[in-house]
Amino acid sequence: MSSELTGSGHLVRLILRRDRVQLPLWIIGVGGMIAVSALAVPGVYNTPEKVAGYAATVGASPVSYLMSGRQAAIDTIGGITANEISQVAQLGVCLMVMFQVVRHTRTEEETGRAELLRSTVLARHAATLAGLGYAVLTTLLLGSLTTVTMLSAGLDASGSIIYGAGLTLLGVCYAAVTLVAAQLSTSARGALGIAGAAIALGYLVRGLGAMQDNALVWLSPFGWAQLMNAFGDERWWPAIPLVAATAGLLALAAYLNAHRDFGGGLVQPRRGDPRASRALSTSFGMALRLQRGTLIGWAVGLFLLALVYGAVIPTIPDLVKSNPDIGQYIGVSAGAEQALIDAFLRYILLFMAVVSTGFAVSSVLRLRSEEESGRAEAVLATGVSRTRWVTATVAVAGLGCLALMLLMGIGLAVGYGLGLGEWDQVAAQIAAQLAYLPAVLVVGGFAVAVAGLLPRYSMLAWVLVAAVVFQTMLGETLRLPDVVDAISPFWHLPGVPVEPFDPVPGVVELVLAASLVMLGLWGYRRRDMATS
């Protein structure tokens, strides 16, 4: 091993020791979701008619193309399985490596812990290599688990292996993306933002390419992994661009790492204002300022996503004309364009609202990171009461969610309007997106409640997000019992615009969200603050 990499082995062992709880949770969480769905598919599609029906309807629907791409051999049980697990498996593995790589590279550097390590016999690139090694290990674990699950579900051996390999290579590729992101930004949060945007971009590009059936799919790592055609006309060569991109990104990360200072990034920190503005001097102003960057990132990302989704809506009727079965599947004739568009809209609105629960929870849990870092102590030692301090952050989270929903609604309407040249639906689309807000707020309220009552277990809020994602993506496929579906607040809301709007569930959920916030506040008022 060259001297530039000395010490990576020690680092990997340190990482494994630190993640001895977190890593199994990731593997069990993502792997479990994959396994549950993969094992359920053969039972659900147990006759040739059902398989054929799936291939003609679900598997060929625009939503499926956008979310899962064009899966090879969709008319076989292997193809159906791959299609059903693709969202959870592909996004799951990417998010897992993103969080892991940032946690063990930029976070370590930002907190200064890496400095202590770097003073030992540890070479410049050791941390990068250790991060990569760890990501390879975890994605390999998850990829193998997927293959083993598929094999035990009785699927074709070579297809299962190709699928698992594609998933692993996809994860490693995004680990390399994250390593580059960790060199660019001086903060862990910034690195997560860059890597997260890269994942969203790759996912969106593959989805659009699949929907339009064009070459865009060849521009995305998600596309390359899928184009290995597991269970269909299997081929290994699309792995070449995946591996080549990974190698190129790693070289870039190494170059950037060699050309920057320890703790530094590509962007030099600017000088700031020596005085605080009036707006910053209130609890709300301060909470807003602390979350400004995150909120802008989410707003831009989700707005663009909505814009793109809106823009593809006009192509749906054409897609259906070429495949009349979908119309039957949805229960409308190919001519009833609006019904088709509504079905698509319903899924997009729900999907985007579910994604924004990620913002709600991360925004609320700022309370925890402020508390654990001791920064909350500095604020609470002034004239700011706990109630005001919590309320300010919660207000930013709540208003942030509202702003995101509005922006997504506008984005969708604008994209749609541009595509069709019709602008009479704008208000309706924004209203439809807002109809999903109560469920987002319930998830955020739950985060406030756990942060106030069970501060050590605030991660439960993320467990709820995972449960909501799982229920939304796979609830119908898996025919989950109602009690399980009921965990997701989105399940209780009317699926506008397909189902008629009913204010009652939304109002009930708003009351529930408010109650959860009150509960959290009550917890905050009576408990000890964490001591750093």
């Binding site: 930002e110 001086t186 903060s187 920190p269 600017r270 000088r271 700031g272 204002d273 020596p274 005085r275 605080a276 910053l280 001097s281 609890s283 301060m286 300022r289 602390l290 960057g293 870092s373 001791g374 920064r375 102590e377 500095a378 604020v379 609470l380 030692a381 002034t382 004239g383 700011v384 009461s385 706990r386 005001r388 009576r526 408990r527 000890d528 603050m529 001591t531 750093s532």
Partner: protein, 304 residues
């Protein structure tokens, strides 16, 4: 006059650990009260109780005549706090943090702010993420002393400051004391506490074991005497109150209880004094003696 701080029989447990175990503390208005103890003795826990961040299990606490838990936010308008480990918002500048904390406390003294920034040589336009530990500490110190508070809670405030800044900090404490403020200064830098404090409390294992002015504390312990005498002072150990005489190069060195200093010196006079030095215990000796006895007890207990 009601004391600025009055804690009696405070108990605070964290699971099985009794962080505060019947702590009593009185801080009079207008005094600088040194609060000394080794790491983990409960100094910061006491500070956090006073800030209303921790809820005590039993005992009573009063600060400026009010309940630090119930009236936390109102009380905080009258106090300033400097923690020993300052963590700042990485994307705010030092100047913004000073303004923010000052205004949230209910206002800050513009003249003092400008003056303190200059005295502590702090650049307020740099982002907090680029500050060193010492500079982060300065931000908290400037924010506190620019506030016109009645009571200053300083929890190891000078950790990370260089000696020049440390001296500047001591001047700040003197100034606010002159203005009539009360200061509770927790420290394990004994020279700092010795230089600043009117009264001192030593805390060990969550309870105050000694409290008083420095001279009172000294009186409770022994004076060190080093003497060279014409006749050998072999029998000095027989004088009541003399402890552990040691003989080095014809000189004798011993500790003597303050009440028996006169008798011990008389005994030396009888032997013919050629040189004599005597000094009261430094705070460091007081402290080490307090702590050393504990170590001795523990090791005896272990042997028995």
């Amino acid at each position: 006059m009601t004391p600025a701080i009055q804690l009696s029989n405070l108990v605070k447990t964290f699971g099985p650990v009794r962080a505060l175990d019947g702590l009593d503390l009185d801080v009079e208005v207008g005094e600088v009260h040194g609060f000394l103890g080794p790491n983990g003795a409960g100094k910061s826990t006491t500070m956090r109780v006073l800030l209303g961040l921790l809820r005590t299990d039993s005992g009573s606490a009063q600060m400026l005549g009010r309940d630090p838990w119930k009236d936390a936010a109102d009380l905080h308008r009258q106090i300033a706090y400097v923690p020993g480990d300052v963590n700042l918002w990485p994307n705010l500048t030092g100047g913004e943090v000073i303004d923010l904390l000052g205004r949230m406390r209910g206002g800050l003294d513009e003249k003092k702010r400008a003056d303190l920034l200059e005295r502590f040589e702090l650049d307020p336009s740099k982002k907090a993420r680029t500050y060193s530990k010492g500079n982060r500490q300065k931000v908290a110190v400037v924010a506190a002393f620019a506030s016109n508070a009645e009571l200053y809670l300083l929890d190891e405030p000078t950790s990370g400051l260089d000696p020049l800044m440390e001296a500047e900090f001591q001047r700040c404490v003197h100034e606010v004391k002159t203005e009539g403020a009360t200061i509770l200064l927790s420290s394990h830098i004994l020279a700092e506490a010795e230089a600043l404090s009117d009264r001192i409390s030593i805390i060990r294992n969550g309870a105050v074991v000694q409290s008083g002015t420095l001279s009172e504390l000294r009186h409770l312990t022994r004076t060190t005497v080093i003497a060279e005498t014409a006749a050998p002072a072999n029998r000095i150990g027989d004088v009541p109150g003399v402890h552990e005489p040691q003989f080095v190069d014809g000189r004798v060195m011993f500790d003597v209880d303050s009440d028996h200093l006169d008798a011990a010196v008389s005994a030396l006079v009888a032997l013919g004094i050629r040189s004599l030095t005597s000094h009261p215990p430094t705070l460091e000796e007081l402290f080490l003696r307090q702590y050393g006895e504990d170590v001795a007890t523990v090791s005896n207990g272990g042997a028995g």
